[in-house]
């Protein structure tokens, strides 16, 4: 019931690998780690969600604020390897329309 966040930088890409659950308890930690990365102009932030097996609206909120930040600072946000269950929440809330989510969703729910 925790979340680990691993960040590695390679040229203009920041790879963020998440593992665990994103809820009201862990979301603030994610926000603190993610937002500064979206403020370095020209950078792409790629978030790997393969090992995120639970997320709720608090997680969606973090990605919405990260997306807003990318628009302000001319950076990019990309979500990759999202699990089917998590993808479903992005779909229900309509966020798949505005987020850059890798189309190879696990479980093939596309």
């Amino acid at each position: 019931m925790n979340l680990t966040i691993d960040v590695t930088n390679k040229e203009n890409i920041a790879y963020v690998v998440l593992s665990g659950e994103v809820d009201a308890f862990t979301a603030p930690k994610l926000k603190d780690a993610l937002l500064p990365l979206t403020k370095e102009e020209g950078q792409t932030v790629e978030v790997d969600l393969q090992n995120v097996n639970y997320m709720d609206s608090t997680g969606l909120g973090v990605f919405i604020s990260a997306l807003k930040s990318t628009k302000e600072h001319n950076t990019d946000l990309k979500l990759v390897q999202m699990q089917e269950r998590v993808y479903r929440l992005f779909k229900i809330t309509g966020l798949t329309e505005i987020m850059n989510i890798d189309s190879t969703v696990q479980g093939g729910m596309q």
Partner: protein
């Protein structure tokens, strides 16, 4: 009176206990025979309700308790989340919720506005009573389609 089992849990109104309640509902729903997908829906719905109670009921100070009640019926699970003490304006919360639409301005997207919307989308029935604090009562039916096709399976009162 329709027979049912009742399980009650009280947790401190702190975000770190949301995961604990998620495990509880997962166990109860699994015992009742809910599908994997339905259990995941229940986990999100109850987490949203508790997050609301933690955030709005107690202004994130972590004081007070949240009471969670599970009504276990033959054909459904009723979940009650009560943030005794605090209260939040439901009208405010209900306003501006709902899925993103293509013509919405991204700047206007509310970062915390999806909670109640998700509860509504994932559960079969949602009722809210805000007379004494805020109580969210949500219901999810077992094998919804099957019940609809075969009325004999529904156990009614008597």
């Amino acid at each position: 009176m329709e027979p049912f089992d009742f399980v009650e849990i009280k947790v401190p109104a702190k975000a770190e206990y949301i995961g604990v309640v998620r495990l509880s509902i997962s166990g109860i729903a699994n015992r009742m025979g809910f599908t994997y997908e339905d259990i995941e829906d229940l986990k999100v719905a109850i987490s949203e309700a508790i997050t609301n109670a933690v955030k709005h009921g107690y202004n994130e100070t972590g004081e007070g308790e949240i009471t969670i009640g599970f009504g276990v019926y033959d054909d459904r699970l009723e979940v009650m989340v009560a943030d005794h003490g605090g209260s939040f304006n439901l009208g405010d919360i209900k306003q501006d919720i709902g899925p993103y639409k293509q013509d919405d301005n991204i700047e206007e997207l509310r970062e915390g506005g999806f909670g109640l919307f998700l509860i509504d989308a994932l559960m079969d029935k949602v009722e809210i009573n805000s007379k004494y604090g805020v109580i969210v009562l949500m219901t999810k039916y077992l094998h919804e389609a099957e019940v609809g096709q075969n009325g004999d399976q529904i156990s009614t009162s008597q």
